[in-house]
């Protein structure tokens, strides 16, 4: 497999995907050589997160069928990684972007998206991300011709991005060795699309989704399905397992990963690795395994959130 760094690229869009897998030698030690643990480093995408894959796919598919065309503005409600992806591909493809975010979102997020020329519309700080979604729907309803609204929770291009890229990359790198794949559920696009491709493989691969154990949690980007609006693209019957993860365990494993493997990842990546460790510990005695945990982004993106930022978005 060639990595993207060896390629001469024509635009930022060509930098998306083909992210590296890195072994976790320190974390593997407890399994005495029976278990290979790999981290899929999605922060190596140009926008710094896994969301570059669905962001680009949603825009390209909309360009192909005319939902996105000259004169349209891209609009969505997101203060997180998807907003960064829209902003950078909007800039690169020549389409202006508007993001609706609650008024009290962190200054760092405003600065990152505005750097790409993105316009920010603020919704009520008291209504959190649901308030932002309601405002986007209202703006789109008032002037439907003006906007292209990808709606990542319902857009089939979101899981398709992973069916076409993440899944094949894992099979190309590990092939028949791969026994387990673990990733968190946010929109569910990553786990659904990757699972669909892995389930086509000739050998069974156990696909495990990680969700926060409780509605009140600190695993940013992940969704507690029982207390959330369930995304239209989420079909849990296609997964082998949905594992509830306590916030503390995800944070602890993320911190262990920083300290022992030397890579500073976000908490949702820590939760995925924590899930892989649980799967490895429950393997029947003597059974071998090769697992991949997907790491959505870097820890730097959350630095203002480590107890230093006041009144963040609910």
């Amino acid at each position: 497999m060639t990595t993207r760094n060896e390629t001469l690229c024509d635009s930022v869009a060509d930098l998306v995907g083909r992210t590296p897998l890195v072994r976790m030698p320190a974390l593997e030690r407890e399994f005495g050589g029976r278990v290979e643990l790999h981290a899929k480093l999605e922060f190596m995408n140009p926008g710094g997160s896994v969301k570059d894959r669905p962001g680009l796919q949603m825009l390209r598919d909309a360009l192909a069928d005319g939902r996105l065309r000259a004169g349209k503005r891209i609009i969505d409600a997101t203060s997180g990684n998807t907003g960064v992806a829209y902003s950078l591909f909007g800039a690169a493809l020549g389409y202006p972007v508007t993001l609706v975010m609650p008024a009290n979102v962190s200054p760092a997020r405003k600065a990152i998206t505005e750097a790409y020329g993105t316009e920010i519309v603020y919704s009520s700080e008291m209504e959190g991300s649901d308030g932002a979604i309601r405002l986007v729907r209202q703006l789109v309803a008032e002037d439907p011709e003006r906007w292209f609204y990808p709606d990542q929770y319902s857009n089939p291009s979101n899981p398709l991005a992973h069916y076409l890229s993440t899944g094949p990359e894992l099979l190309e790198a590990l092939g028949d060795k791969l026994t387990h794949f673990v990733a968190g559920i946010g929109t569910s696009g990553t786990i659904m699309g990757t699972a669909r491709r892995l389930k086509e493989h000739r050998r069974a691969i156990h696909v495990c989704a990680i969700e926060p154990e409780d509605a009140l949690h600190g695993l940013e980007g992940l969704k507690h399905m029982a207390s959330s609006i369930v995304p239209a693209i989420y079909h849990p019957a296609e997964l082998d397992e949905v594992m509830p993860m306590p916030t503390e365990e995800g944070w602890d494993v993320a911190e262990r990963f920083h300290a022992e493997e030397g890579i500073f990842i976000g908490h949702s990546g820590g939760a995925a690795i924590a899930g892989a460790l649980r799967l490895a510990r429950r393997l029947p005695a003597g059974e071998r395994a090769c697992m991949v945990a997907l790491i959505p982004d870097r820890g730097e993106r959350y630095l203002p959130l480590l107890g230093l930022e006041k009144r963040d978005v609910w």
Binding site: G83, D130, R311
Partner: protein, 92 residues
């Protein structure tokens, strides 16, 4: 009694109320009073040793209690206390 603002994920414990009243001279006492009226809430906010969970932020009049006196932070009747998860937004 102080006013306590409750974030969305905790509202099922407060019967959907966004704001509740609670008694106590310190944040710790306010949390104990909340537990009396809304059983189960303290366990969500505090770990086994009684400390506020790392992913929960409690603000007394917009100041993070970690930078004040933590659970010993004094509370006046006119104070507004907010309980907020330490994450922004929903799934990005």
């Amino acid at each position: 009694m102080a006013t306590v603002r409750i974030s969305t994920p905790l509202r099922k414990l407060t019967n959907g109320q966004e704001e509740v009243k609670a008694e106590g001279a310190t944040i710790g006492a306010v949390l104990a009073d909340l537990e009396k009226n809304f059983p189960g809430i303290k366990e969500r906010l505090c770990d086994e040793s009684g400390q506020v969970r790392r992913f929960v932020n409690i603000f007394a009049n917009e100041e993070d209690i970690r930078f004040l006196a933590n659970l010993d932070t004094p509370v006046k009747d006119s104070d507004e206390i907010s309980i907020v998860p330490a994450i922004a937004g929903g799934a990005g």
